[in-house]
């Protein structure tokens, strides 16, 4: 298959942000996740847990609560005191409303989905009416002494439980007055702590209120009498989150020790009608605080400071023990944070608030498989570019020639010109960006670096011609009438004639750049697109989907290629379909048109279309080099998928030239080393 020199890069110092909230939507089977940097991500659990949308964060907007309302509407609230609604189509913030109660700590949507309740720093609980296009303040509930950290509606919508510091209040929604005040014991293992913070409450339909608090307790209260019914001491540290299943027969809590406990309503004896809550299963998938949990009908979902999103299927709810029953741990974003200039061997790394430009090293030595070659020049950190303003970077790109860098935040678009003089580089910002170029979801340069393609969040695609130090707007492809879906992925053909773009659900559109018109639309597929690329010479569009299917579509012929039809007919190898991270990048070999290079977080693969396809009986991944095998056997067992799992977790991989690859790895240990230390637990002794 070939020998490559691989630039193995581990200096991309990327740390994902910790997870603050998760909210599960049963109707669409989607999960909203907010992180400590204010980013909100939407995962489609039906589409192989693909992260299909994201809303960039903002320095001042720390999200403390996240919830779904009727009609797939997503709200968040945070410490800046604002309630935000997100536009899931245009992928931007619809509006922000100040609640005027200081920082907001908690939020809950009424069971009917028409009212929104927020708990504020000043002890007020505010009720908002959700109107079709906005939210409307309705009234305040009785003000409490201290901040409201948690809220839960009774399923009938008549009462609300609110967790504060040292006590839980039960409100009557009609009158807005507190019906009961349930004091929580401050004592913690015999020692009186200063305060007991109620991190979470859940109101069940039988009137039981479940509370979790900073003293490590899970308590059951009778809301009718305001009395404590049952107490479980489950941790030596805070219990920080709780989520109840829709059937109210099980719930899940997360602790600061990284443990997630599953509680279930279980019959006291077999076939008796009397049931009680029993702590059934502990899970230790986290090392740090579990700040947020969610309960889908079939799985427990948890996330926290250690930045992993863990989806743990409940085995008894899983009908068939297939690959869906496996534990999922999502750590890295399902989009590209790295771009590469092949000509100058540069890598551009995207962080939340800055960009880094690195030049790869070089070597003159050669070696055989597995050798590490001596460096004649080490990699250089050329540039550290900080953003202006509090907004996070959405996307960035470096041109193939290495002389342009573009990036975008929610409100501004930046374009820089780089000049290289020997070892010095100078940076020059291209000023006076046009008004329409305010925010981009995806940026792409053409192969000759003469054109810039920008996907804006209103669904339009801008084509800009780049000149030395200036630019010219050529054309804007408007979205098809009636659709406002934003395009998240772009691909341009090496000859510069074709541009492909894809949104989250509709098909892939292919535009003719020469004639500036829509050429064709690839039929839409059930699963979202995770990566796109157009092959040189043939202009075949290769599309990877979140269900691990890969299609090849001939743009000139406007139809799927013969190879694509063959592999669809035969089906992919079962191990290929069982991979749990999406393909995030596709590239091609300039000299070998039959090869497609693609990678996900745990492998990279070269598909050789000239070789026979593997069936389920053949070995898909064979890490060992063939030894003592005659050429005949080797030829017989060879198949189209050449897989390497040497580099992982793999965030980026591309072909620099015919014989050189670049691989960017981000070892998990390096991330863990930079997280705050977890709560120390004794391992030995008592």
């Amino acid at each position: 298959m070939g020998e490559f020199k691989v630039h193995r890069v581990r200096f991309f110092n990327y740390i994902p942000s910790g997870i603050r909230c998760v909210a599960y939507n049963n109707q669409s089977n989607r999960l909203a996740v907010s992180r400590t940097d204010g980013t909100v991500e939407i995962y489609n659990l039906s589409a192989n847990y693909f992260q299909e949308k994201f809303f960039p964060g903002h320095e001042s907007r720390a999200t403390e609560a996240l919830c779904w309302a009727k009609g797939q509407r997503l709200f968040s609230a945070g410490l800046n005191g604002e309630i935000i609604e997100y536009d899931l189509q245009a992928l931007n913030i619809k509006y922000a409303v100040d609640a005027f109660g200081g920082p907001i700590w908690s939020m809950a949507v009424s069971p009917h989905g028409s009212q929104l309740l927020v708990g504020c720093e000043d002890g007020s609980v505010k009720l908002f009416q959700i109107t079709p296009d906005k939210i409307q303040f309705e009234r305040n509930f009785d003000r409490q002494k201290s901040r409201i950290l948690s809220l839960s509606w009774h399923p009938s919508g008549t009462h609300v439980a609110a967790g504060s510091i040292d006590y839980i209040s039960v409100f009557d929604v009609k009158s807005g007055s507190a019906v009961h005040k349930m004091l929580v014991d401050r004592q913690y293992m015999g020692v009186s702590k200063r305060k007991c913070i109620i991190w979470g409450v859940a109101f069940l339909s039988d009137g039981t209120v479940i509370s979790v608090d900073s003293a490590g307790k899970v308590q059951f209260w009778d809301s009718a009498t305001g009395t404590l019914v049952k107490n479980h001491l489950i941790a030596n540290a805070d219990v920080q989150s709780i989520a109840v299943s829709d059937q109210e027969d099980s719930f899940v809590v997360g602790t600061a020790e990284g443990t997630v406990f599953h509680f279930q309503l279980v019959s006291v004896t077999s076939n008796s009608s009397e049931k009680q809550w029993v702590r059934t299963k502990p899970f230790q998938h986290h090392t740090h605080d579990v700040r947020a949990v969610a309960h889908s009908p079939t799985a427990l979902i948890s996330g926290g400071t250690d930045t992993h999103l863990v989806i743990r299927p409940l085995m008894e709810k899983v009908e068939v023990k297939n690959y869906d029953a496996a534990l999922r741990k999502i750590t890295f974003p399902h989009r590209r944070l790295i771009s590469c200039s092949k000509k100058r061997q540069l890598l551009l790394f995207q962080f939340t608030h800055h960009l880094e430009l690195w030049r790869l090293g070089s070597t003159v030595a050669t070696g055989k498989n597995g050798d590490t070659l001596p460096l004649s020049r080490d990699a250089d950190h050329l540039l550290h570019l900080k953003t202006k303003g509090p907004e996070n970077i959405i996307c960035s790109c470096i041109s193939p020639c290495g002389s342009w860098i573009a990036y975008s935040t929610t409100s501004r678009f930046f374009l820089y010109r780089l000049n290289y003089e020997h070892d010095n580089i100078s940076l020059q910002r291209v000023s006076k960006m046009p008004a329409f170029l305010r925010s981009a979801l995806q940026i792409l340069f053409s192969e000759d670096s003469a054109k810039l393609f920008v996907a804006s969040n209103q669904g339009s695609l801008h084509v800009i011609r780049l000149l030395e130090g200036s630019f010219k707007h050529l054309h804007t492809f408007q979205p098809q009438s009636g659709t406002v879906e934003s395009m998240c992925l772009l691909a341009v053909s090496p000859d510069g004639n074709w541009l492909a773009s894809s949104g989250t659900s509709a098909g892939v559109h292919v535009y003719n750049i020469k004639h500036l018109k829509l050429h064709c639309t690839v039929p839409s597929y059930n699963f979202p697109v995770t990566a796109l690329a157009i092959a040189p010479n043939t202009n075949n569009l290769v599309i990877a989907h979140s269900d691990q299917q890969v299609f090849e579509y001939s743009i000139p012929d406007k139809q799927y290629t013969e190879w694509s039809r063959t592999i669809q007919k035969q089906g992919f190898h079962y191990l290929w379909l069982q991979r749990d991270t999406p393909i995030t990048h596709i590239s091609f070999h300039p000299k070998r048109p039959m090869h497609i290079l693609l990678h996900d977080a745990y492998m990279f693969c070269i598909i050789d279309k000239s070789l026979p396809l593997p069936n389920d009986k053949t070995l898909l991944y064979n890490p060992l080099p063939p030894t003592n095998e005659s050429d005949v056997i080797r030829r017989r067992t060879a198949h189209a998928f050449k897989i390497s799992k040497i580099y992982k977790p793999l965030l980026f991989m591309d072909l620099l030239d015919e014989r050189t690859l670049v691989a960017v790895e981000r070892p998990l240990d390096d991330i863990i080393a930079q997280l705050p230390p977890p709560i120390k637990k004794k391992k030995f002794g008592t």
């Binding site: 070939g2 077999s270 050669t366 590490t372 460096l375 064979n622 240990d669 390096d670």
Partner: protein, 696 residues
């Protein structure tokens, strides 16, 4: 804990019960359906869960039913006796009792007994017993008198003991009680006199009985309010002679002593009895559950409207006449296991043999009757429960019948056929039945020892010691070490006494004497890592170990014995129960076992991971635990034996050196951690490299 649940009334219409209450409540051939015979003329078939009658039959005016109706389980027909001598047999479809089959007998009937799996038996008032079919063939046949004049039958019950019916009846004559045991397979009748002991004057008011292996445990409730137990042997040593049995006090004053009537007793299970009657002299009558083992009252339920002093118990329900209504009180007794409480249950098993699921499914333990909210889930439960309808599949029946008479070879073939069938949910109980059947026959004819079949059954992984308590006993008797090894590997609940008995056999010389041809097979299951070491251990075993060097290099036992001992090391136990049994092991065997354990310990310590090679090696903890246990139990003895003393000394030295190493390691632990950190940093520094990759 046993518990009585909320009862419910079976019939809203008051039964025409006479002063003596009901004649009886009997099971019908369908679960949940019961035949209730009132004291007058009516028989009613009830479905208990629906609380409604399914059918009702009456005899003509002027006739009177004299014996409770029963169901013939073989044909599904019902049988009743009216006017003492007239038998009526009918089925569900019949409407009028006058028009159904009728047979008039020559003698008066006391009771008809019917039990699952056997033909109904008719007990005459004079003590004679006849099978129903024989009787119907010749209704007017002469019926002999068995009991003497003035002797009156007081109570009777039927049992199935090893597929044979055994009938017991109690008679009374002038305040003396006699028990008759009629075994139907051998047509033997044995008579016992019940000696009442000091409580000579008391009158027995109620009887109940259960079978406990070779005895019928007869419980009687006397007029002094105490429950007595009498063990009546089923197989008498000398059937001809009149024998006596004594009764012993089981529970004291369970009902108030002056209660004259309305007192009854029934055995619920091995440890529980239900008693009907007032607890205190002035209190109302009530049903109470007593635990006979711990002499405790488990539950009681007051019956304020009075009872007739009759109590029936079937399956999970107690039947009581409460006032004028027949009341059903569901009774539950949770099985609690000491093994579970003491943590004796095995946890680790190799993945290959694991049959239990990896996770506990809390959903399935939820109420079967109550269903669950989730429709999808209940559907699944239904699907899962469906196969249980065919409780006894024909293959197992055929196999069970084969076991009774066929040769070992044939049984093996039948077993293979049976095991080839896809297992049903009640697979383990069927397997249990098969094993007990095999053992039953082995007991009856000691030459019959179906070793291969038993081995095959053990390897189904569903057996446990509690399911077939006789199996290991039999294997111990036969000194069948291979079978014992298999049992030790498979059963999670072997009592410590049995484990110890196995250990004794394994250490005894009999293991050595056995032929070597079996050895290879054992080796597959066990520990074969020291094969090269143990090649010529045989000879060395009898020699005294010459020096420490030799001890450390060679295994003191042959590989076969090592495999057997490893099975012991793997078995679960509780120290408290094991220690007394360990004391009984002879001193030289203790020494040998210690030598072997010491050898294992040395082997273990040879590598860094402190593990032994092989498929299922004993862990270091297991080895250490057994060394400690053995020394705890036999220290005084071992110290006195010179060669053992030398062994102890070297063991002591070695342990001490190990402890030394550990404490030194503890001291430099921090330095190790720093080293590790340095090592990591070195790796981290390689943030960039150019490597060569060749794809094949």
């Amino acid at each position: 804990m046993a518990a009585l649940e909320e009862g419910f009334t079976l019939s809203a219409v008051p039964l025409g019960a006479g002063p003596h209450g009901l004649l009886g409540v009997e099971q019908s051939d369908k679960a949940d359906q019961f035949l209730v015979t009132d004291g007058g003329r009516t028989v009613i078939l009830y479905k208990v869960s629906d609380q409604k009658p399914l059918g009702s039959w009456s005899v003509k005016q002027g006739q009177i039913i004299t014996c409770p109706a029963v169901c013939n389980f073989q044909t599904g027909e019902y049988i009743v006796v009216h006017d003492n001598k007239v038998l009526r047999i009918w089925s569900n479809e019949d409407v009028n009792l006058d028009k159904v089959f009728k047979a008039t007998l020559s003698a008066e009937i006391y009771r008809i007994h019917s039990i699952q799996g056997a033909e109904p038996l008719v007990l005459f008032k004079e003590g004679a017993v006849r099978g129903l079919e024989a009787l119907l063939a010749e209704p007017q046949q002469k019926i002999e008198t068995v009991i003497s004049d003035e002797e009156v039958i007081k109570w009777t019950k039927i049992f199935m003991v090893f597929k044979h019916t055994v009938l017991i009846f109690i008679t009374e004559k002038h305040g003396n009680y006699f028990a008759y045991i009629q075994k139907f397979n051998s047509h033997t009748l044995s008579k016992y006199t019940l000696l009442l002991g000091q409580e000579e004057k008391s009158v027995i008011q109620s009887f109940s009985a259960s079978v406990d292996r070779n005895f019928i445990s007869l419980m009687s409730l006397s007029s002094d309010g105490c429950v007595y137990e009498t063990l009546v042997p089923i197989h008498p040593r000398d059937p001809e002679k009149d024998q006596r049995v004594v009764r012993s006090l089981l529970l004291k004053t369970v009902v108030s002593g002056d209660a004259r009537n309305g007192v009854a007793l029934t055995v619920l299970d091995q440890d529980h009895v239900a008693v009907l009657g007032p607890l205190l002299p002035s209190s109302k009558e009530c049903v109470s559950i007593w635990n006979t083992k711990f002499q405790t009252l488990q539950a009681s339920k007051e019956l304020p409207q009075g009872t007739s002093g009759q109590l029936w118990y079937y399956g999970e329900n107690l039947f009581v006449l409460h006032g004028k209504f027949l009341t059903v009180i569901p009774y539950k007794c949770e099985v609690s296991s000491l093994a579970g409480a003491l943590g004796k249950l095995k946890h680790s098993q190799d993945p290959g043999t694991q049959t239990v699921p990896h996770f506990v499914n809390w959903e399935t333990s939820r109420g079967h009757r109550f269903g669950s909210q989730n429709s999808e889930q209940s559907k699944r439960i239904l699907r899962r429960r469906k196969p249980e309808v065919s409780v006894q599949n024909p293959a197992s029946k055929q196999l069970l019948s084969a076991i009774k008479k066929d040769s070992e070879k044939h049984i093996e073939e039948e077993l293979c056929k049976f095991l080839a069938i896809k297992p049903t949910p009640d697979f383990n109980t069927i397997i249990g039945d098969i094993v007990s059947e095999l053992l039953g026959r082995h007991k009856a004819e000691p030459s019959f020892y179906p070793r291969n079949s038993l081995m095959q059954l053990i390897q189904t992984h569903v057996l446990s010691h509690s399911l077939c308590p006789g199996l290991m006993e039999a294997a111990l008797e036969k000194a069948d070490v291979q079978m014992l090894q298999l049992c030790l590997q498979q059963f999670p609940d072997i009592p410590e006494s049995v484990t110890c008995a196995c250990l004794k056999i394994f250490l005894s010389d009999s293991v050595q004497e056995e032929k070597m041809e079996e050895q290879t097979e054992v080796l597959h299951n066990g520990f074969n890592a020291e094969e090269e070491n143990c090649g010529n251990c045989d000879r060395e075993l009898n020699k005294k170990p010459q020096d420490a060097a030799e001890e450390t290099t060679s295994c003191p036992v042959i590989p076969k014995r090592a495999a057997l001992l490893n099975a012991i090391l793997h078995s679960a136990y509780s120290e408290m129960f094991l220690l007394p049994h360990l004391k009984d092991i002879p001193a030289q065997h203790v020494t040998l076992f210690l030598q072997y354990l010491y050898f294992l310990y040395l082997k273990c310590s040879e590598n860094a991971t402190m593990t032994l090679p092989g498929l299922h090696p004993p862990t270091l903890n297991q080895i250490m635990d057994w060394i400690c246990l053995l020394l705890d139990a036999n220290f005084t003895v071992v110290v006195m034996i010179p060669e053992a003393k030398r062994l102890l000394l070297s063991l002591y030295k070695f342990v001490k050196s190990q402890v030394c190493i550990c404490s030194e390691l503890n001291k430099i632990e921090v330095s190790f951690r720093e080293l590790q950190k340095l090592n990591q940093e070195k790796n981290n520094r390689e943030l960039y490299s150019i490597e060569v990759l060749e794809l094949f």
